[in-house]
């Protein structure tokens, strides 16, 4: 049952991810990307990580993708408005995508050793256990990543500030 669900979700995820790339309309791409995020959240639920799943939905599908959609709707992109890409850019894009593929293949190569540890207990995804791990074992990385986010936020405010208002 779980395995069938996993295959179905994976199929759906890969299909919608491919549609993100292949659909002509940028708004459709964003909508397919939202479906992909939902499928990933469903995968988290399969792995007993309910908290992670719901936070994933709130943050990615609920906030970030809304802003993506917002910007794309405002820009009103279409085929005529799309800038013509030179061959050099196409070449560079192919190379970097190939490198990414290489990294992914390299990551997946070691997965057969990881399967032994994958039998996680049911409580691992609960808020309580997650909070304990996050605030006891990984306190420092957690705080440092929050400072990183704060820096990004301050940077965004600085960039967004109108320069002509000076007192």
């Amino acid at each position: 049952m779980t395995l069938n669900l996993f295959y179905f979700l994976s199929f759906l995820g890969i299909l919608s991810a491919l549609l993100v790339v292949f659909s002509k309309n940028p708004v459709h791409s964003v909508l397919y990307l939202i479906i992909t995020f939902f499928v990933i959240a469903a995968h988290y639920v399969l792995l007993n990580a309910q908290f992670l799943a719901i936070v994933h939905v709130i943050v990615y599908a609920g906030a970030i993708m809304v802003l993506f959609l917002y910007v794309i709707m405002l820009l009103n992109l279409n085929q005529e408005a799309e800038p013509h890409k030179s061959n050099l850019i196409r070449f560079a894009a192919t190379i970097s995508a190939g490198l990414l593929l290489l990294v992914l293949v390299g990551t997946l190569k070691g997965t057969d050793q990881m399967l032994v540890q994958s039998a996680a207990p049911v409580e691992v995804g609960l808020v309580k256990s997650l909070g304990r791990v996050l605030f006891k074992e990984y306190m420092l990385p957690f705080e440092i990543s929050s400072i990183l986010l704060l820096a990004a936020m301050v940077g965004a405010v600085m960039l967004g500030k109108p320069e002509n208002i000076k007192k």
Binding site: V27, L31, I34, Q50, F51, I54, V55, V57, I58, A61, G62, A63, V66, L67, L69, Y70, M73, L74, L126, V127
Partner: protein
Amino acid sequence: MMSIFIFKVILVVAVFAISLFMAAYSTYAERKVAAFMQDRIGPDRAGPFGLLQPLADGLKLFMKEEIIPTISNKFLFVLGPCLFMITALMTGAVIPWGDTLTFGGVSYALQITDINIGILYVFGVVSIGVYGIMIGGWASNNKFSLLGAIRASAQMISYEIAMGFSIIALVMMTGTLSLKEISVFQGGGVDGHWNFWNVVYQPFSFLIFIICAFAECNRAPFDLPECETELVGGYHTEFSSMKLGLYLFAEYINMFISSAIISTLFFGGYNFPFMHDLGLDANMITILGTVALFTKIVFFIFFFMWIRWTIPRFRYDQLMNLGWKGLLPLSILNLVITGAVILYFNK
């Protein structure tokens, strides 16, 4: 096991039906309240006191001609209102509508599902709800609709943050994300222990939450996505017939659900004062508790309408200033104070 399954199915259907019923009669109540506030009579033609008015309105919306603009994206145009309606109905699943009923040794909880992240589930569903507006507004291929959709998305994201922060203070106090446990936390009576409603401990959190709830439901004074003086009809300008009906209806369901959530989080949920001191049967207390919850919900729906017909609409920059510069810092301050108090008393 089987009886619990059947009971859950009945409960799902009941919550669905009650949501629709409450939404239908909220439209009637809204017109009556507006009439009362403006010294008019309001709808009184259909049935006694105009009580059949929602049915007449529904029939009218079903029978009207359906117009889909030729250059809009048909699939997304239909998907928009459907998505908005579905997300409005989904939140009812985690709200505890009452305590447990016991028949023949089997206890039935009056809640469809008690997931341990209940309040986060509500937030997740609410944050998806904005897609219904955005997709519908964009697919209409109309400037007014697009502006309405964009306003709606910016407004909902801005107010979600302050809403989340105001809830964190409450979660810190109760130590749980489950709506059922938050309800239980507020239960009790005079006998030995006093458990006050959360609003007594967290008045600022409540104030911020209810303001944000107004903004999330797109209700006046925050109904900028559909403000008729600037945007014709906002995101639903191009919608006609039952698709418009779904948008308007879902708004009332959202109002019902957010009233239920406010009652559950801050006003004791299905608990009522002296509930264990009257010497009543457990099943009787449960039924009275559900009645108490619905009384609170009806009061908050009335409160929503009261505000709508009292306070004029904000300007869009005022709305953003209130959200980002007013409510967000206040909710963070509330969070810090709550944390400090908890630390001081639990030392």
